[in-house]
Amino acid sequence: MKESDIFVEVECSQWIKNGQNVCGDAFQSTRLQNENRLIATLADGLGSGVKANILATMTATMAQRFSAANRDIMKFSKIMSDSLPICQVRKISYSTFTIIDCILEESARIVEQGNPPFLLIRNGVNVPIRRERIGGEDEARAIYAASFSPECGDRIIICSDGVSQAGIGSRDYAFGWQTEGCRDFVLNVLKDKPEISARELALLVRNAAIAKWPDRIAKDDISCAVIYFRRPRKTLVLSGPPFDQNKDKEYAMFLRSHRGCSVVCGGTTAQIVARELGERIDIDMNSAGNDLPPVSRMKSASLVTEGILTITRAVQYLEKMSWPKDDPASMLVEYLLNSDEIRFVIGTKVNEAHQDPSLPIDLEMRRNIVKRMKVALEKKYLKIVDVEYI
């Protein structure tokens, strides 16, 4: 597996036990870019509520840091367990955990204590991986480890016992949903949606677990994390005419040679691209909304929008982390967020008409607004963003 060929999407979806304010499970993930490595931990603290949350968060935080520092699991699991505050009611301290330590081109190692066993889904089937007991004083605290080489398309699914025991004691699920129930559910989902994102799959599992409880009243915290090894989704965004008209052809050809999703922001930009590629632009009048001009369709682009107004609005949505459905700026936001790597190619020719002081609103400079968009996408959404000017 080559670094550039694989993107690892990591998402966790949680639901809080009925009557509590915080989740007693904690999930953390870290990318160590220099080592081409990803570490993720799901911990489930004893009990529920704030107490469980503290146990789980401490455990996950320690596990992440000890793993990143390459400390021996047996040593640090003892340190973790000794460090946790002791429950006044139960006189014990305890938090289960699952740690995934993955070096992207090479291997994945999964260490588990107490959580339901992880699932590895490859080519639509569950692949059993041998788990070796590496320690633990008794069965309740047994620590298991498993290793394998991740392949493109693999998904690792880890859950707290709130998933496997969902509905326990109820008429329909006397013994809970069980790991097998969750596994079959995931396999069925993947049959219909083999490309489903980690985010969506984690959410579906969580929702299915909630639904196992009578009246959807969950009696435990529910967490499902999905780690999905896949080809990176790359999006190209062209906006603004090139400074030098002689570069129009080169600019348009970016669109032709790009593999993946492509967006054109700007009417003049769209005309340049359409002219150079010999394509036509069709405006979709039904798509206008929220005071934004409508989007258009073009053969070589996944989406064509107006330029500065739409980009400015999209930046506002990204910064607020909230947007309405189906206006042109929301459509742009959805394309960007469904990507892992986004490349902006920004034409630097200034539109003189936009500088007219009699315009009723200030139009932001394209370069400035794209800079703001890059910051929002990188900081808030962890996207890989590249901006170049032409």
Binding site: G267, N351, H354, L359
Partner: protein, 84 residues
């Protein structure tokens, strides 16, 4: 009755100067006129860069520029074209 083409600029300048909704000029036409009008929304026509055409928003009625276009000014222009 010859068919009349009305292009409405949806470029940024025209849009912020009140170009959104100009396509509703058809509501001011009678049924016969409505049948013989083709409305084509367009990306920036490029007139805003050049002062000689007046101010945005712009529409083109059978290729003739309507500057500072409004629903009624486009409808009037279209009706005049039918009379020719």
């Amino acid at each position: 009755m010859d068919k009349i083409t009305v292009e409405i600029c949806m470029g940024t300048t025209c849009f912020v100067m009140g170009g959104s909704g100009l396509e509703e000029f058809v509501e001011l036409l009678n049924d016969d006129e409505k049948k013989n009008v083709e409305v084509k929304p367009s990306t920036c026509i490029g007139l805003c860069k050049d002062r000689e055409y007046g101010k945005a928003p712009y529409a083109l009625v059978n290729g003739e520029v309507v500057a500072e276009a409004t629903i009624s000014s486009i409808a009037t222009k279209v009706k005049n074209c039918f009379k020719k």
